[in-house]
Symmetry: C2
Subunit: 247 residues, 2 copies
Amino acid sequence: MIREIAEHRSHRRFRPDPIPAAVMSEMLEAAVRASNTGNMQAYSIVVTTDPELLQSLAPTHLNQPTAHAPAIITFCADVRRFSRWCELRGATPEYDNFVWFLGAMTDAVLASANLVLQAEAHGLGICYLGTTHYNAPEITEILRLPDSVIPVMALSCGYPATEVQLTDRLPLEAVVHSDVYREPSDAEIESFWAAREASPETAELLKANDLPTLARIFTERRYKGEDNRAFSRKYFDHLVEKGFFNQ
Amino acid sequence: MIREIAEHRSHRRFRPDPIPAAVMSEMLEAAVRASNTGNMQAYSIVVTTDPELLQSLAPTHLNQPTAHAPAIITFCADVRRFSRWCELRGATPEYDNFVWFLGAMTDAVLASANLVLQAEAHGLGICYLGTTHYNAPEITEILRLPDSVIPVMALSCGYPATEVQLTDRLPLEAVVHSDVYREPSDAEIESFWAAREASPETAELLKANDLPTLARIFTERRYKGEDNRAFSRKYFDHLVEKGFFNQ
């Protein structure tokens, strides 16, 4: 397997050392090699390394340890640059709608995947920040993103301060379907999670959280219904406000 | 640069040879190594190789040449399997909302990026099918995707039948911003597109389309406003119907 794919893991503690300019440049060149819709490159990549701006961004990523990194790289769906070029050329751009959000988000995420593997080829570590979907309006404000530009993913990046083990995955048959979707039985679903439920890490988590099942740690501690709904409304409102929902 | 990233291109004509099982297995193992939200793996990968099903899928991808491949691999946001596990463990899953669509879509797209690079390491070629966002309800029906599972990306895969050149990209400064977003001037935007506008390929396109600018080929031929809006409504309705918008 490609070494960087096989050895990929999330890093949450970084050394303060900056990322050399030549390395960052190669990471960005790798990012733009990714496939994208119509070769329109309807995305932007904001590389933030200024200490004050990093300090401002940290709370948008819930002040997690990994939010404190030498660089936060924010990937945005961006139909603004392309639309302006259209206007300058006598064309009428109509990319202010949901299908273009989906396309531009896909392209931005594919670019991020390339950037990450290239970073890891240089010994850097990263962590994807799902919090980007929680606090997009605040990120928009800090990074001064204009209309028609919305953050869809961010990651922290730096030289790892600690060793991190590879994390486990569900068995392949849990996520892969042949030809069409086949609904797993309850017994199969239980078997997919059996190894993780039986692990010493889970035993520790249950004790620390005073809960009887790992599933309840997800639903009652990590990703709670009321938070999920509030973040959903907040992101969707921002999407509309940014001009990605005129349909 | 990582070889597979540097040499990545889209392939639209494939030989009929099937993908060996061991190669497909390694591609899928690479896919699941990607980062994902909470290590919940809220996605599913449907690998379609049955000739009749491939025949049914081709129109959903607009019968493009690349829709005729030995395999179509469809990546879905899937909160169904995880939610059922929660129910079996006395937990109340509340992942039927937009922020989980965004997270699961991100994870599915990251998985696809790994799969693609690993496929290319074996001499296979792929093409991302943006049409997945146009005809998701039809894909859902053909692949028998239940509620809480929605297609977010698909790709065709096989051994390339023809040689394909690397495509160009905008200059890096068009998509990269330092620290915060900096609005390009009109002159800068024009400079970003200058090389592509001046190319012999563009000259041919203008002639074939009887249009005066490349931008108008995008807005009047390739991605038209009325289509964009119709596909936007269609995908969003499907998202609601599938149970990803209870907020």
